[in-house]
């Protein structure tokens, strides 16, 4: 069974020879601190994937947002932090020592409808030449007879809007200027549709992907009403294009508690969650049971248990057994693996995953 066949069958709840084996990557510090990476010269995610012999999976992405982006530059430096304008036009406070963290965003370049009108004209032209996809080049890179699953990136309908406005800025803008925010979502959708129209006729994609990151530990960063009335209809437009081209599986990346918007995601056609952070939501089994045969999850191995030790890793794996057996669930660390997971614990986790789900004669038969 090829990686492509395995992924396709597992995500359709069908029996496979073994579980698809992938991980979501690592923090930058892991490459500097983990002995296995340091001693073997592993410095990138691609190198790590080869080092651990994970199954191959790839995604084709387009130019579906600001083009050109804002010019990134340093505004000021003070103490142990630096303030920068990033490519989304946000003022971002970051640590001087560049350790891995999510920046602290302080203000946005786009706040009012006038700001949006100006920047939309300058950066969001769907017909811009730089948005044209070199299909022939991509075909060479991902031939039709490939043995790995290939996805098409359906971008973001609201996550990138959040990136442009800040978390609080989006909440206020959706209340103060709802038409402006809806136009931002519409713009995002048009740019994704433009990309899909260029690539969908030329590839037999195995899945679609997306990124939103629109949930917080206590739920979504937009109101459920806004999500259902503004975002979901755009998902449906994209879903229609995917269906017309035979793409059945569509996952989106959103951390946090997705439960309040899960019915909207499913209604819009997104039928898989990635990387499914456990601690800020729930055990993946809860949602897989609630949406049996409909929802898929990729990720969902609680990193807190990987930090805790072998006993906790074993215990958590046991809780995943019924879901791996059922199919539609590919377990891996529930976000990029942080450096407070020791290399020894990580190896133990990988070995246990292999023993339980990842080889012929494994403890658990996948998809049965």
């Amino acid at each position: 069974m090829t990686d492509r066949e395995r992924f396709a069958r597992q995500m359709r709840f069908q029996p496979v020879d073994r579980c698809f084996n992938m991980e979501f990557g690592y923090w930058a510090e892991n490459y500097l601190e983990w002995s296995g990476f340091v001693e073997n010269g592993v410095t990138t995610e691609a190198e790590a994937n080869r080092f651990f012999n994970f199954d191959r999976i790839a995604v084709i992405s387009g130019n579906t947002w600001m083009s050109p982006p804002f010019e990134e530059r340093v505004v000021s430096e003070s103490g142990n932090t630096r303030v920068m304008i990033n490519r989304d036009g946000l003022y971002a406070e970051v640590p001087m020592d560049s350790h891995s963290t999510i920046p602290h965003y302080t203000k946005a370049s786009i706040v009012t409808p006038d700001d949006w009108k100006r920047e939309k004209a300058a950066r969001f032209d769907a017909s811009a030449r730089e948005r044209v996809v070199d299909v022939e080049e991509l075909k060479k890179r991902h031939p039709a007879d490939r043995e790995y699953p290939l996805g098409v990136n359906c971008g973001s309908m609201i996550g990138k809007v959040r990136d442009m406005l800040t978390f609080e800025g989006l909440a206020y803008a959706a209340y103060d200027y709802p038409d402006m925010v809806e136009d931002m979502v519409e713009t995002a959708c048009v740019l994704v549709e433009n990309f899909l129209d260029q690539v969908l006729p030329h590839f037999e994609f195995d899945f679609a992907s997306g990124w939103e990151d629109i949930c917080f530990k206590n739920g979504p960063i937009v109101t459920v009403e806004f999500f259902n009335s503004v975002v979901v209809p755009r998902y449906k437009r994209i879903r229609k294009k995917l269906e017309q081209n035979g793409v059945e599986i569509w996952y989106t990346d959103s951390d946090g508690d997705v439960r309040p918007i899960l019915s909207g995601l499913l209604d819009g056609g997104i039928n898989a969650l990635f990387p499914f952070e456990v601690n800020s939501c729930t055990h993946p089994g809860e949602l897989l049971d609630a949406h049996k045969g409909t929802l898929r999850i990729m990720g969902g191995f609680d990193k807190i248990q990987m930090i805790a030790g072998r006993e906790q890793i074993d215990a958590y794996f046991e809780t995943l057994v019924p879901y791996v057996k059922r199919g539609g669930f590919i377990p891996f660390c529930d976000h990029r693996c942080p450096p407070d997971v020791t290399y020894e614990n990580y190896l133990y986790y990988l070995d246990r995953k292999q023993e339980m789900f990842g080889r012929l004669g494994a403890d658990v038969v996948v998809g049965m």
Binding site: W27, N80, T81, E93, V94, P95, H99, T101, I102, P103, H104, F167, E168, L170, A171, Y172, A174, Y175, F216, K217, N218, G219, P220, I221, V222, T223, V224, F226, G256, P260, N279, S280, K303, I304, I307, P338, P339, D340
Partner: protein, 210 residues
């Protein structure tokens, strides 16, 4: 009183300008400032907090309600001082050293203020020494620590230890944030864990009035 109920309703809907107008009307009608605060603004924020805890509303609704409350508070602040209305307690809050995230911390701050407590916001990337110094300086009852990352939540243990070392036995340590759990709270010897901002405000008030 109908006017105070209107303030509460407008606040819950995030109508900042309406809240200001109604609060000004209440001031003009000589409504006691404590009633405007407690039966209008805090009542509205309390309802939002309960709905937030019950997953009936989410962070965006809390943010716009808090923005509306702040508009009302600004109008009555001088009157509160004049009337000698005291805060119900003082909380020193911050995101721990190494962590620059403040969304969760800011939500807790809003909710705690909505309970009529004074909040000393130390911002992000706050050292254990700074938490302790601020608690001493402001005679605070609570130190509230936030963290988003597993790699930074360990700093909370340092805060607990430094507070003990400084002899702040009466100061309670509260912890919260995406990776933080009750088990972690117990392990590091903190006094309270809250799973969300509204619960944090409830706990803070309970600890201050205990």
């Amino acid at each position: 009183m109908a006017l105070l109920n209107d303030i509460s309703e407008a606040l819950q809907k995030g109508r900042a300008q309406d809240v200001k107008t109604l609060v000004q009307q209440a001031i003009d009608e000589k409504t006691p400032v404590r009633e405007i605060l407690e039966d209008g603004l805090m009542a509205g924020m309390g309802i939002i907090g309960e709905k937030f805890k019950n997953n009936e509303v989410y962070v965006p609704e809390v943010l716009i309600a808090a923005r509306a409350m702040n508009g009302g508070i600004e109008l009555i602040r001088p009157l509160l001082v004049e009337a000698g209305v005291k805060e119900r307690g003082t909380v020193v809050i911050g995101t721990v050293k190494g962590d620059l995230h403040d969304i969760g911390k800011n939500l807790v701050k809003m909710m705690v203020e909505g309970k009529g407590m004074k909040v000393i916001d130390l911002g992000t990337n706050v050292t254990a020494d700074a938490f302790v110094a601020a608690a001493k300086e402001n005679n605070a009852q609570i130190i509230a620590c936030s963290a988003l990352l597993t790699t930074t939540m360990g700093e909370m243990k340092e805060v607990v230890q430094k507070a003990k070392d400084a002899g702040l036995h009466g100061v309670k340590i509260m912890v919260g944030g995406a990776p933080v759990t009750q088990n972690f709270c117990d392990t590091i010897g903190a006094d309270a864990y809250a799973p969300d901002a509204a619960s944090a405000a409830d706990s803070a008030l309970a600890l201050c009035t205990a």
